[in-house]
């Protein structure tokens, strides 16, 4: 049986993005768990029923791509295959193939296009 509310994990150190994304997804009936650093990402995924991850590639303590790699190695297959959407100011250190390898569904460039973000999330986890 599916849950009532879809749960999104947002990993981004910017309080602005945190506030904004939370408000936007609350508005369309989704729950957002926010993390400003990468330290607790794996724990949070293990302890919650997360449906999708929005990950900033550049974090103060971690490389977002490394975190996605760790997610893909999780033992729980449902969790290891979580849909991930990357957000970043630029992707100059990564090629498209890097994202494909980690099965990243979308990579959005900041400043965020809200329409794009919402439709990307809806596309991968439905409403």
């Amino acid at each position: 049986m599916s849950k009532l509310k879809k749960k999104i994990l947002l990993v981004d150190d910017s309080p602005v993005i945190q506030t904004l994304v939370k408000k936007i997804f609350y508005g369309i009936g989704m729950e957002v768990i926010g993390l400003k650093t990468g330290a607790k990402v794996i724990d949070t995924i293990n302890n919650n029923d997360i449906d999708l991850v929005i990950m900033d590639i550049i974090l103060p303590d971690h490389d977002g791509m490394d975190l996605i790699r760790q997610i893909r190695k999780l033992k729980n297959s449902a969790k290891s295959q979580l849909p991930v959407i990357c957000i970043s100011g630029h992707y100059k250190n990564y090629k498209e193939s890097d994202f494909e390898e980690l099965n990243v569904k979308e990579s959005l460039i900041k400043p965020l296009d809200y329409d794009q973000l919402v439709s990307a999330v809806k596309k991968h986890i439905g409403k």
């Binding site: 309080p15 506030t19 809200y114």
Partner: protein
């Protein structure tokens, strides 16, 4: 475009303006000797029937000069024709076509009918082609096949002509690009054109200028304006003295005055004369011309963004053409002081060019090499970045849209790699708006130039770049300062999504974001590694962009770039805080 500067005494330019069918709309007076007809005989006639006739009369022998006109697209396009006779001893006649009226037609825009014309012109030969190919399949005789092949060949040529014409429509627009010209370059050409008038009618042509520097304009159009005005003065008002004077007014407009001592034009006639095919007096004893002169002048002045006026004078006629905003701010002084004394500084400079388009790369390289610049070309950002490990040139020209990487990213990588040793960076972009140009400049480019590249413009920009590196920053800061604090539409969009007004909340989170890092930074700058400070600025930038805080976004971008070049000071950060408090004030007012 033809160069008329280097004409020798044996060359005779004539100025004929006709449409693409070859119908002459306007011809200058010296056509008489070259084409064997005077201007009134020529007007409305087809140029091909006159070509070479005058020379034949002059030389007493036939000239092998052929000119064919084609206009397969059905669009009338006025062209300017110069007939050059390189030497009386040879029997070669060169014809140069210069599109004259292209831009205003483009600005009017092609309409549905034009496109229907293209489609029609393309469709009928294509249909014939199809039929011919189809017929050939069933053709048994060799002769029949050969005949069909011959027809196919002709149609293919016809099609390629149409394509050529369409190409012309696309590329000719760029001919309008303004270049800096010293008005004194025009003077010898005017003298040459009116030499026969000056001799035969004993007319004095006074050419004066009080401009301190050249002005930025479309050369061919200004020349055309002057030719028409002088011609009018000589032929219609019987002037004995014509005076041309270039001036600037207090608003830095260029004023071109053409004064004559002829019989003058009444003010009420003036407005009608600026309409096509109207002459002052139909019963005028002087039958020359079709009355297009002033109309053309008026249209050209309009195209150049200027106007034509006829101030009342005691005797004769005075016509003033005002051409606005011709010299970009700051450039005038530069031209005055250094550039005008000759752009010697470019010789021996080293410039790297990055463009994935081979044609562009060769084109730009050639322009630079001709100036004695040492040029190194690169096809990919990767190659360029690698070469910078061993050697850094004086300037790098980067194409913005590259196949492997965005030019902006390549620039940021260059800056990251070279820090304060970063050379001057020039962006070549297909589309330059004031907004994206500012954005490129904040990302570390020193200048931005629109494509297609016009040689003079490129050299002018490069010269200016070498002249004023320090001042660029100050100018950029002023530009940022003039930006709006925020883009209201972005905030409205957020409201739409969240279904409530959260700007205050967003602003607070933004402020805390900035303050947190600020504290850290001020307390112990060495605590944060370079990369982290850079990251912080980057976050501010993207947060500001997300919220539509335009000024903040651009300023952060500017600081980010400045930081990478190791130039940032604490006062820069204080300025950032000022901008934030400015935004805060506006948000509070709105509330």
């Amino acid at each position: 475009m033809e160069k008329r500067h280097k004409l020798t005494a044996k060359e005779y330019p004539v100025y004929i303006q006709c449409d693409l069918t070859g119908r002459i709309l306007f011809a200058s007076n010296n056509c008489i000797c070259l084409l064997g007809a005077n201007t009134s005989e020529l007007a409305g006639q087809n140029i091909s029937s006159f070509l070479g006739q005058g020379i034949k009369k002059q030389l007493g022998k036939e000239l092998d000069a052929k000119m064919t006109w084609s206009n397969p697209t059905g669009i009338t396009k006025d062209v300017n024709v110069s007939l050059l006779v390189p030497s009386i001893d040879t029997n070669e006649v060169e014809i140069y076509l210069t599109p004259l009226y292209y831009k205003e037609r483009e600005s009017i825009q092609l309409n549905k009918k034009d496109f229907e014309g293209f489609i029609h012109d393309l469709r009928s030969p294509l249909n014939t082609l199809y039929q011919l190919v189809h017929l050939s399949e069933f053709e048994d005789s060799k002769e029949g096949l050969l005949l069909n092949l011959e027809k196919i060949k002709t149609i293919t040529l016809q099609l390629s002509e149409i394509v050529h014409d369409l190409e012309g429509l696309v590329s000719e627009g760029s001919i309008m690009t303004r270049i800096i010209i010293p008005e004194k370059d025009i003077f010898p050409i005017l003298r040459l054109i009116f030499q026969s008038d000056m001799d035969a009618r004993k007319i004095e042509l006074k050419l004066k200028s009080s401009l301190k520097s050249g002005f930025n304009t479309v050369y061919s159009k200004v020349l055309r304006i002057l030719i028409n005005l002088i011609q009018n003065a000589i032929h219609y008002s019987g002037a004995k003295t014509v005076e041309v004077n270039f001036k600037t007014d207090s608003k830095k407009n260029i004023k071109i005055e053409v004064k004559d001592d002829g019989k003058g034009i009444y003010a009420e006639d003036f407005s009608s004369l600026t309409k096509p095919y109207v002459r002052k007096d139909e019963s005028n004893q002087n039958p020359e011309g079709k009355g297009l002169g002033l109309y053309i002048v008026q249209r050209l002045a309009e195209v150049l963004g200027g106007k034509i006026e006829m101030p009342q004078v005691k005797s004769g006629t005075k016509i003033v053409i005002t051409l606005p905003g011709f010299i970009s701010q700051g450039l005038e002084e530069k031209l005055d002081t250094k550039a005008r004394s000759g752009w010697k500084s470019l010789k021996g400079k080293e410039i790297y060019v990055l463009d994935d388009d081979n044609l562009n790369l060769t084109f730009v390289s050639n322009i630079l090499t001709k100036q004695g610049i040492i040029v190194n070309s690169f096809r990919t950002g990767k190659d360029l970045l690698e070469s910078l490990h061993t050697h850094v040139p004086d300037l790098i020209i980067l194409d913005i849209i590259l196949s492997d990487k965005d030019g902006v990213i390549v620039a940021s990588e260059i800056i990251e790699q070279l820090g304060n040793k970063t050379p001057l960076l020039l962006a070549l972009s297909g589309k330059v708006t004031s907004f994206n140009s500012l954005s490129y400049k904040c990302s570390g480019f020193d200048e931005v130039m629109a494509k297609p590249v016009i040689p003079q413009d490129l050299l002018e920009i490069i010269n200016t770049m070498f002249l004023d590196t320090g001042e660029n920053n100050q100018r950029l800061l002023n530009e940022i300062q003039n930006l709006p604090a925020f883009d209201e539409s972005v905030l409205r969009k957020i409201d739409e999504f969240t279904k409530e007004d959260i700007r205050e909340e967003l602003f607070e989170s933004f402020q805390s974001e900035v303050e947190e890092t600020m504290k850290l930074w001020i307390s112990n700058e060495t605590y944060l590694k370079k990369k982290e400070i850079f990251r912080t600025l980057h976050t501010w930038k993207s947060s500001a962009a997300t919220l539509g805080f335009v000024k903040m976004e651009f300023y952060s971008k500017y600081l980010e770039n400045k930081f990478l070049k190791s130039e940032i000071k604490i006062s820069d950060i204080n300025k950032l805080l000022q901008i934030i408090s400015e935004i805060k004030k506006i948000i509070n007012i709105k509330r």
